[in-house]
Symmetry: C2
Amino acid sequence: MTQTPTTTRQIALASRPHGKPETHDFRVETVDLPELGAEEILVRNTVMSVDPYMRGRMNDVKSYVAPFDVGSPLDGGAVGEVIASRSAKVAVGSQVLHGSGWREHAILPAAAASVVDVGAAPASRYLGILGMTGLTAYVGLTAVAEMREGDTVFVSGAAGAVGQAAGQIARALGAGKVIGSAGSANKVARIRELGYDEAFNYKDGPVHDGLRAAAPEGIDVYFDNVGGDHLEAAIGELRLFGRVAMCGAISQYNATEPPPGPHNLSLAIGKNLTLRGFIVGQYAHLAQEYRGKAAEWLAGGRLQGDETFRDGLENAPQAFIDMLGGANTGKMLVRL
Amino acid sequence: MTQTPTTTRQIALASRPHGKPETHDFRVETVDLPELGAEEILVRNTVMSVDPYMRGRMNDVKSYVAPFDVGSPLDGGAVGEVIASRSAKVAVGSQVLHGSGWREHAILPAAAASVVDVGAAPASRYLGILGMTGLTAYVGLTAVAEMREGDTVFVSGAAGAVGQAAGQIARALGAGKVIGSAGSANKVARIRELGYDEAFNYKDGPVHDGLRAAAPEGIDVYFDNVGGDHLEAAIGELRLFGRVAMCGAISQYNATEPPPGPHNLSLAIGKNLTLRGFIVGQYAHLAQEYRGKAAEWLAGGRLQGDETFRDGLENAPQAFIDMLGGANTGKMLVRL
């Protein structure tokens, strides 16, 4: 039987990034692991997620999740194997999904972990298409944007993890036409393979031109991962009673000045538009519904998601920085 | 029996205003009245409405209503007496509400007029609290902002026609607290008399400061008549799942450059906010429901609305210009 470890490596926030994060804003450190308390488990993490929303938590700004503290370890989604347990509910050897990523070993309450079946799908899927990523796309389209069959749906950041899922789910839910924007020719080609009817590279010219060419008849739903020019272009092209799911604003996460809002926002009045922001954590009640549908779509080949892997905890900060810059196609993950 | 007139005076758009409209953008002209066609009526207008939305129609911009044509007469809400009729449905002597204002006499299809009871309420009320003004406030609070009992509701332009109605209707619908902003100390005093719990003069300092002082706990609903700084301040103070009814943007109607959107719009994501624009014409199906409630509230003294009158068709352009500048308290009307 393997000796349980008494220390772990983890990534701490060394300083708050100013604009684009740099590797010196992060620090790898080794810390002692305390004794397991009652109802706690020790997990050896095997894969962790780096996500856009984490950038906001690196600023000292009150938001829907508390900011990370300078000098403290980061956290985020991870999957790993339970190697010690003081809970009858989670056995040693189980694979669990939990929120204590950015470290090789984690101690957490058993109640904060969900056992996952890595026989049915690889561990990484529970961080992506079967997890928060997929649920975000599903919730944004259904509960937030109230997508209807036949709608023309536009998704920005369409080659990202949520964007890939959103386009395919829109298609599975009966969208009339699905349009995506991405930041390279390769990404554009890839999202077309995944079922996007139209796709354009937003770096080729003004977003508005790309969108208008792809959707000359206008759009009904905009799934916004990007903010900025994309949101403004979408407001211009939305039809009467069009809807925006505001999921993210990755174009602004590294901004050092508050970016201007869309200049054409008042078009929302005459067009009866709805812009609705959301964070997936408020829609946990839809997780079970989503998992059922996702399993079916996956089995039928209607839902897939690319994964970009990096290896080693020490490379997690660079993976995060690269993800913010768009280096990934699909979900960016770090194998530990 | 009076001779029916063969000419009428009307106001035509002489030129598209650049920024703030000036009287030379309008022209009083006398035109012949044609013979009445089948199912048409001739109306002697007694009162007409000047409304903020008309400013948008003076620009050459496609919107939810077609722009006014240069050289053609303006139009808008009016009430008058039917003095000739070729329709069995509308008798001579009836008082009717219709959309052919900005002229002393109007010929229109009988089907485009609604008979009103000027014994039950003065004609002007059918343009204001019992008409489009009141319905706009009601629809904005209920169908658009989905106001709930106990909500803290903030209304900008609260001394304007829609603003006065919105505050009182919010109160009647069970709002926990109603806050208004207006542009003078007199207006602030007046809206307090009308039942606003808190009110501030937005010219006294940053809107954000005024709002925060009035609603230190935050707000749930923002009824936006103004746009600009007001919308940005409201986004800052809205609580989780807060809602904005975007009704108007009077601060921007005379703008010659597209104004920046709210810099803090991305707060909508973390706070799960909904911003929904609307025009009342899309909610005509709620008119009957509203009229029933409004009659009850009026009878019970829970709903009143100030009226600012000007006299004479030739003074309608100045009344319109002054209304855009905030000279009115409550509804701005022109007696003909």
